[in-house]
């Protein structure tokens, strides 16, 4: 026992990276992590499972997998302005039940988060509804109104609590303007997150351009529309020696460019989303608007490249790009439907599925969903070291569940996984030692 005060929580027999551990929490921090039955348990008691120190709530986590609370670096919370799709309270509910201790939210709200008062209001709203977390970290608009023509007040936004800047939702096509965003953000110690998309190649498109789009007669956007801007950003980051984070990478061509950049030591980082590791544009053969997302679902070859890239670290992190839309907005012909799928509720189960498949390991999940996003955006992560924030969740690795109104907490249900059986369920989340769900 190294904690100075007596533990408030004692979690027994949890599986952490293949090890059976007992975790003691005191003052909202990790007080000890010991092999089950060995650590602070007095000799001779209850072999294989430690007894709780006096006064601590004791929880037997037998059969459960223990993870640090995750960070989702890319969500759309829709508040202010489109609360019928999602609001901060419901978005954080989805995050909490999804195992997330922190979410970053994009600036394309209505009004746009290009003003410190909006940033502060978002943070206040989050604290009011979820005082113990999940914590909401706004991403400020890189340009005023996301118009791409004028720098937003990045210093003021950073002071108000923005952890990064992005024009996501309306990527900046003007490379000179984008360069100034990256430079000015760097002065605030913040990274710019870019949605890589050539606006000309993507114009009027509703899906990936390829075999499927040709077959079903829908205008597509080619993968090079993304890769062109990935290349632009890599060259820019190399030239400026400043970091740029590449959002929701969807294709092999981008992965190859990023791998090249990293070999050269260019300070770019990148994310992809669970759906790009699991689905292809064939989901749209029946015009399923729930699978309409931007960047679009690509091909089997892209899925294979992305899976390799998350294994090898070429893609640094996973993010959901949680983009809720109301049912009536998606219940239209494909070309009228908005882009986006929800992700907070399903992210852990979907990526746990990849662990079950042998594509990822538990350590990969922790790296992709916690350690690396924490490093890139300067947020605390529970590494299960003494003194780390007691932010963690328990996953039932075998529980089967079906995403539906009854099992999800987002206001919107626009996910192509709706109604499909998933395995792996978040059972409880503690943030700062407080049980949140």
């Amino acid at each position: 026992m190294t904690a100075t005060t007596s533990p408030s929580l004692f979690l027994r027999n949890a599986r952490l990276l293949g090890r059976m551990v007992d975790v003691a929490v005191a003052d909202g921090r990790i007080a000890s992590v010991t092999d089950s039955g060995a650590g602070c348990t007095p000799a001779g008691t209850d072999a294989g499972s430690g007894a709780a120190p006096a006064g601590a709530e004791s929880i037997d986590a037998k059969g459960m997998v223990l993870f640090p609370a995750l960070i989702d670096a890319h969500t759309h919370m829709r508040e202010p302005g489109q609360e019928y799709k999602e609001d901060i309270a419901s978005g954080l509910a989805a995050a909490a039940h999804g195992g997330f201790g922190a979410v970053l939210c994009m600036a394309n709200t209505k009004p746009v988060n290009d003003d410190a008062s909006i940033t502060r209001d978002m943070i206040d709203t989050a604290r009011r509804h979820w005082p113990h977390g999940p914590r909401l970290h706004p991403i400020g608009a890189a340009t005023v109104g996301l118009k791409g023509t004028e720098l937003a007040p990045l210093a003021e936004l950073a002071e108000a609590g923005c952890v990064a800047f992005s024009n996501d939702g309306a990527p900046v096509p003007d490379t000179e303007m984008f360069r100034r965003c990256v430079e000015y953000a760097a002065d605030q110690g913040k990274v710019v997150i870019d949605h890589c998309e050539d606006p000309y190649l993507a114009k009027g498109a509703h899906m990936n351009e390829g075999e499927t789009s040709g077959r079903i007669g829908v205008k597509g956007q080619p993968d090079i529309g993304e890769a062109l801007h990935v290349a632009r950003d890599i060259l820019l980051a190399d030239y400026l020696k400043l970091p740029i984070h590449l959002a929701h990478i969807s294709c092999r061509r981008s992965v190859e460019l990023i791998a090249w950049a990293k070999q050269r030591g260019v300070p770019v980082t990148a994310e992809t989303c669970p759906h790009y590791l699991l689905l292809t544009d064939k989901e749209l053969l029946g015009y399923d608007t729930k699978a309409k997302v931007n960047p679009p679902l690509r091909t089997d070859d892209d899925v294979a490249a992305l899976r390799e890239a998350v294994q090898s670290g070429v893609i640094d992190i996973l993010a959901t790009d949680h983009a809720p839309h109301a049912a009536h907005e998606k219940e239209t012909p494909l070309d009228e439907a908005p882009n986006g799928i929800t992700g907070l509720d399903t992210a852990v189960a979907l990526t746990w599925g990849l662990v079950r498949e042998g594509v990822l390991t538990e350590a990969d999940l922790i790296r992709l969903w916690a350690t690396e996003p924490g490093r890139i955006f300067g947020l605390p992560v529970n590494g299960f070291n003494v003194g780390d924030p007691a932010d963690f969740f328990l996953l039932d690795p075998e529980e089967k569940w079906v995403p539906s109104r009854g099992t999800m907490h987002s206001k919107s249900l626009n996910t192509p996984f709706l109604g499909k059986e998933l395995v792996g369920r978040v059972k409880a989340l503690w943030l700062g030692g407080v049980k949140v769900v």
């Binding site: 219940e331 012909p333 009228e336």
Partner: protein, 325 residues
């Protein structure tokens, strides 16, 4: 004549030619042939669909196809109603779902839909109990056009589709007519060629069951039929073509080209034509042209479709067409 049983028609809707088996296709064409005979009689009306109602919901303008369905319905004594986009609440921002539910509440037997969104007909069909006929959805499918083209070719070729060569000429990328015809005709053993500038070819076309040409002189060699597609003039503004003169010089089908085709080669066009742009005017009116036959075939084919969907049965089969499938 066998009166014992009427075969059932298994489909609620006609959304795409891909849903039809070969047997169903020939049954449909045979049915159309019987209706074609009715259209040549002095009294061109039969009471077959008396009391049935057909809604013509054309959210994208089309005089030709709409009239064809209207005539087809009326000759079967069905009541036909038109709902144009400009006259409907769609133009007031109503969603297609709400329009669909409104239509449903009027309890029609069949809704014929033309819509600019690919997949719109399927969208309706998934939500409505009545039959839905796709009269053209976006760039996706135009099954009744492909069926009437097939009918027209059958009148010339008989049942020997296998081994024939057909050239589809023009804007393939944005053509639902091309997509439906490529599928239907290649499934019958027709060797399909496509000819267009690369800017007017769809993504993934190299995996279609077709041979691709970008020079008309090469494409037309030895073909048994050429199907010209209407060129949408706005393709030029969209940056897909330089000026239309250049297009016409290279891709307009002329008698000179037809001379390079197989003897007896025929010309088709789904209409309306841009004379002198995708088809030379003289060729449009030449004896080789099947264009007016296509119009007549359109009414007969659509009568067959409405009949099969409204009754969900086949007509009584004659002994000689039973084995064709």
């Amino acid at each position: 004549m066998q009166h014992a049983q009427r075969p059932t028609w298994p489909h609620k809707d006609l959304l795409d030619v891909t849903q039809l088996t070969r047997a169903e296709l020939f049954h449909l064409l045979d049915t159309a042939a019987q209706f074609h005979d009715i259209n040549r009689r002095p009294v061109k009306k039969v009471p077959t669909l008396k009391g049935k109602s057909v809604v013509l919901f054309f959210a994208e303008p089309s005089t030709r196809t709409k009239t064809s369905f209207d005539v087809a319905g009326k000759r079967l004594s069905a009541d036909t109603f038109s709902l144009a986009k400009s006259g409907s609440s769609l133009s007031k921002g109503e969603s297609l779902k709400d329009t669909a539910l409104t239509l449903q509440a009027m309890t029609p037997d069949i809704i014929v839909i033309r819509h600019s969104s690919s997949g719109a007909a399927q969208f309706l069909a998934e939500r409505l109990d009545c039959s839905v006929v796709n009269a053209g959805d976006g760039w996706h499918a135009h099954p009744t056009q492909a069926l009437l083209d097939c009918y027209s070719l059958r009148q010339v070729w008989g049942d020997t589709f296998e081994g024939r060569t057909l050239l589809i000429l023009g804007d393939i990328a944005h053509s639902r007519v091309a997509r439906s015809n490529v599928h239907l005709l290649s499934s019958l053993g027709v060797k399909v060629r496509l000819c267009a500038p690369r800017t007017l070819l769809p993504a993934g076309v190299h995996n279609w069951p077709v041979t691709i040409f970008n020079r008309l002189d090469d494409a037309v060699q030895g073909v048994d039929a050429v199907m010209c597609l209407r060129l949408q003039l706005e393709r030029q503004q969209a940056g897909l073509l330089p000026d239309l003169r250049e297009y016409a010089q290279r891709f307009c089908l002329s008698p000179r080209h037809l001379a390079m085709a197989a003897p007896g080669a025929r010309v088709l066009h789904p209409g309306p034509m841009n004379r002198g742009l995708e088809i030379s005017s003289v060729l449009a009116d030449a004896p080789e042209s099947l264009i007016l036959d296509q119009v007549a075939a359109g009414v007969a084919t659509r009568m067959a479709i409405l009949f099969l969907l409204a009754t969900r049965t086949g007509i009584e089969q004659t002994a000689d067409n039973g084995g064709r499938a």
